[in-house]
Symmetry: C2
Subunit: 418 residues, 2 copies
Amino acid sequence: MTAALIDPDRLWRRLMALAEIGATPAGGVDRQALSEGEIAALARIVAWAREAGLAPALDAAGNLFLTRPGRDPAAAPILLGSHIDTQPTGGRFDGAAGVLAALEAVASFDGLPPGDLAVVAWMNEEGSRFAPGMMGSEAFAGLRDLAAIRAVRDAGGISVGHALDRLHAAFPDLPRRPLGTPVAAYLELHIEQGPVLEAAGRVIGIVTGIQGKKTFRVRLEGREGHAGTLPMDRRRDAVAAFARLAGALHAEVGGLDPDVRFTIGRVAVAPNAPSVVPAEVTFSIDLRHPDNAVLEAAGRRIAALCAGHAAPCGVSLTPLVDAASNTFDPRLRALIARAAAAHGHPAMPVLSAAGHDARNLSRVCPSAMIFIPCRDGASHVETEWAEPAHVAAGAGVLAQVLHDLAAAPDLLATPEPR
Amino acid sequence: MTAALIDPDRLWRRLMALAEIGATPAGGVDRQALSEGEIAALARIVAWAREAGLAPALDAAGNLFLTRPGRDPAAAPILLGSHIDTQPTGGRFDGAAGVLAALEAVASFDGLPPGDLAVVAWMNEEGSRFAPGMMGSEAFAGLRDLAAIRAVRDAGGISVGHALDRLHAAFPDLPRRPLGTPVAAYLELHIEQGPVLEAAGRVIGIVTGIQGKKTFRVRLEGREGHAGTLPMDRRRDAVAAFARLAGALHAEVGGLDPDVRFTIGRVAVAPNAPSVVPAEVTFSIDLRHPDNAVLEAAGRRIAALCAGHAAPCGVSLTPLVDAASNTFDPRLRALIARAAAAHGHPAMPVLSAAGHDARNLSRVCPSAMIFIPCRDGASHVETEWAEPAHVAAGAGVLAQVLHDLAAAPDLLATPEPR
């Protein structure tokens, strides 16, 4: 049945060909958002789409759409996709597998669909060049103003706006698609970026949702002093305050329950000299939990611990990311489970620990994700790897769900049964 | 009486003239060890010494000696001095005041001394370019092999050996003095680099000793992981281990008694990314205490706490500096107190929190130090300042002690009464 829906060999060849654009010596890919490399990769995808008769277009946020027209041009399209930008030392599959599987599923679709089918490659999912990521889907879903996104600058001072203008200039013949039009449903295939499927011996992950995440920057301000002379009781030692505060945070927040993930990954000390009492510590907090009530309570606990443990230093807590956990559409999840069973692929529900564009889409339309395993759960590394058979299985399930959705356009017409 | 012993105006003029070599825009001095600037400053001092009839010479460790011959050339000389290298953003007084006061005292000495009088400028006291500091006096006192010192490299890869060869090449006409010859007594004037004299309204500090110091480098080794996926109970988080260990160290060692000084001044995290469980933390420990028994016990406690609090991370503790506290010669301290009283300067005993070359000299001969106040206790800063009257007072006391020692050569012939 898979063979009838997609061409797995063509998909694999294209995935490997795309990986040559921005290829690193160690076998990975460096193709950051809106770079020359990403523009070249988008041009390659546009050419493949035209071969298949799909109509390419860009929106103002730099999202690329490849549309196969349906019977009713007024019907909201079914959207399938992911992203093709990578981390600076990224791999061949994170993002690209989802875009090319979507292209394969839409290009191979047999017959005239009831509404448009569209492949999408979202602008700047990774957020490594322009932070934070998922800018294209955020703008599309109306969650962030495009003007604010355009103002963000990379480390070299280049703004997203400038880079977007260059992207549009590179494709003068592509029509401009309006930003944020209605969508009937959104489907995204992605590598798991975790070890669960591999450890369980499953090929298809039916993603239940994406765990919520809060990030903060904390700054402790003390006072510099001579390590040999300043009496201990007159010190405002920022590292001593950090040790007390981080100890309390790890114990209380990190020890909350088995589902919490709490990380202080970045610490910067000033002046950071062995014989100087440290004046300042700035550190990051990354907090994740699948239950929004617990996530919110943990966020409040972090604020209370900062206030209570910083003395005699001053403290400031700056929230950066505040993304609630979401649950993907149960009707689409049921379609994925049915398709996996029909294709004979062992499947299981799985929670996504990482963020994806599908979280933003789930705010505006029924959305779901299909995970396939990646070796050792490793991602954002140049050795990232997915088996050709798993890529083919995921794309086949994606194509099957697209087929089933197109055959039952009323499935999503009723309110979501939650 | 002071006026008869030294010329305070000449001393001040020379101090300000020397500060022009390596002067920074903010009014400080950047004249690091064995730099072009230090070589130029040494040349200036050699010229002043020749004006006064002193004989200049360099030893193999780059220490400069300026000798006024005494009656008995076989008698061990009385040595007076300090250093003229500075921190990269250092001041005009730290070191230079001691060398120029010594030059003033020896040049102004009235009559033929019983043995040689020699001024010394020690090589690399600061240790900012080549670490650790006090290399010249360490080599002179036989505490460290010159070959090991020559092998040390600066951040640019230049070795002490190479820099020493350049120093010697810059002074082809200076005779080479043997390294580590006997010394009758060593005297060093220095700014206090602390607030005690200023707060107490005293002009002369009779330095009782230098507090002991141990420094360590600690490395915690955990394992990198994804902040969103890795369960807390499977983590080996190096920052979490650092927080527990540093908390215990600050509480137990930092809270030992009012005399202890405990500082974690430098912390480096790897890979130091907000969404990555940290794999490694390297940090510095600076421990000081005037009581050697307490210092030793605290050092052992640090080792025990590292071993006990690092789990589940691996830990290694590398001792760097291990300098016992020392007590300066009570006979010389009595001479300093008597001279201060004779000159009408309010004086007090004071412990040195910072290290000085005199610590190394005290291992091989009767040694003592004279402190003068510095504004706000600030040193190693470009705004470092000592009042002209205090510089004159300190140099006058130094000259008086030299005079008294020369008049009573048998004072130090008997064993030190401790």
